[in-house]
Amino acid sequence: MRSIWRTTTRVLGRDLLRDIGLVCLADTIVGISYGAIAVGSGFPIWAPMLLSVLVFAGASQFMFVGIIAAGGSPVAAVAAGLLANARHLPFGFAIGDVLGKKWSSRVVGSHLMIDESVAFALAQRDEERRRAAYWVCGIGLFVCWNVGVLAGAYAGTAISDTDAFGLDAAFPAVLLALVLPSLRDRAARLPVFFGVAVALATTPFLPAGLPVLLALVGVLAGVAAKEPAEREPEGVR
């Protein structure tokens, strides 16, 4: 265990480990609020825990709990949650390599796929760092998220409003910081611009999760525009 840790520290470096740790800390606090909200709205303590371990996708968990607490049907709650998580399919295509070839590591690694672990992996340039960042972030978030949810469920409504701490701004800021280097690549800007515009324009009308998926038409726009992709160095890879 010690040697694994030492290897990881060497590959990632202290700075990146600290960055990942910070994200884990922020997610712990969000987990506490999720646990507190779920129990506060009448769920038994095991319910938010079960979702956190088995689903492990914050936004869809909040949605699931919110819809059922508001009297919605389980079918509606599952459908909304699945729609919110559909973006993991293209994520898997993008970072599939970092999971390794063994089936066991593919199964475990797939379960650890979450916005932050994908973003941290994509932000690394070489293969070894990419893999280490994905696994450390994924495992760290899994542990912290579940510990947070457990604490929140027991502490009741200790922190029910993470907005007061500005944590709702921290999540997009984290992703933005991780994605920015990819945007320095010119060829990526047009697809991103189109994608963001489509997602924002459709958010008022469509169920949550769908607008983000629709952003993929931005990629098609990029292909149609035939950008000089061959000559440009790719920011992501």
Partner: protein, 106 residues
């Protein structure tokens, strides 16, 4: 709600979510992917993450999220653009939103 219904609903969500996550790596390993397709997939992930940033920063449900949150994200984004340390980016984004709310900005 009946505990059994809750377990079944949670289980279906868990299985469906896992299927989404698992399909990409498995399908990708099964087929040989051209470098061009590979590049498109990496770009798709960037586009999805960027859209997620925009939607999470600006909206809450179907509505505008108010000014405090996007202001915080903007401060974080400018700091990240200027290559400030990651910790500063995150803390500044959260602190900006929190302070604005404290001052009465929604």
């Amino acid at each position: 709600m009946d505990p059994m219904d809750l377990i079944v609903a949670g289980g279906v969500l868990a299985v469906g979510t896992f299927a989404f996550r698992f399909a990409g790596p498995v399908l990708k390993a099964r087929f040989t992917v051209s470098p061009k397709a590979e590049k498109l997939m990496a770009r798709s992930a960037v586009v999805l993450l960027a859209a997620l940033v925009a939607v999470a920063a600006l909206t809450e449900g179907h509505e505008f999220a108010g000014f405090a949150r996007p202001a915080g994200v903007l401060v974080g984004g400018v700091l990240a653009w200027r290559k400030a340390p990651f910790a500063l980016v995150v803390v500044a984004a959260a602190a900006t939103a929190a302070l604005l709310r404290l001052a009465g900005v929604p």
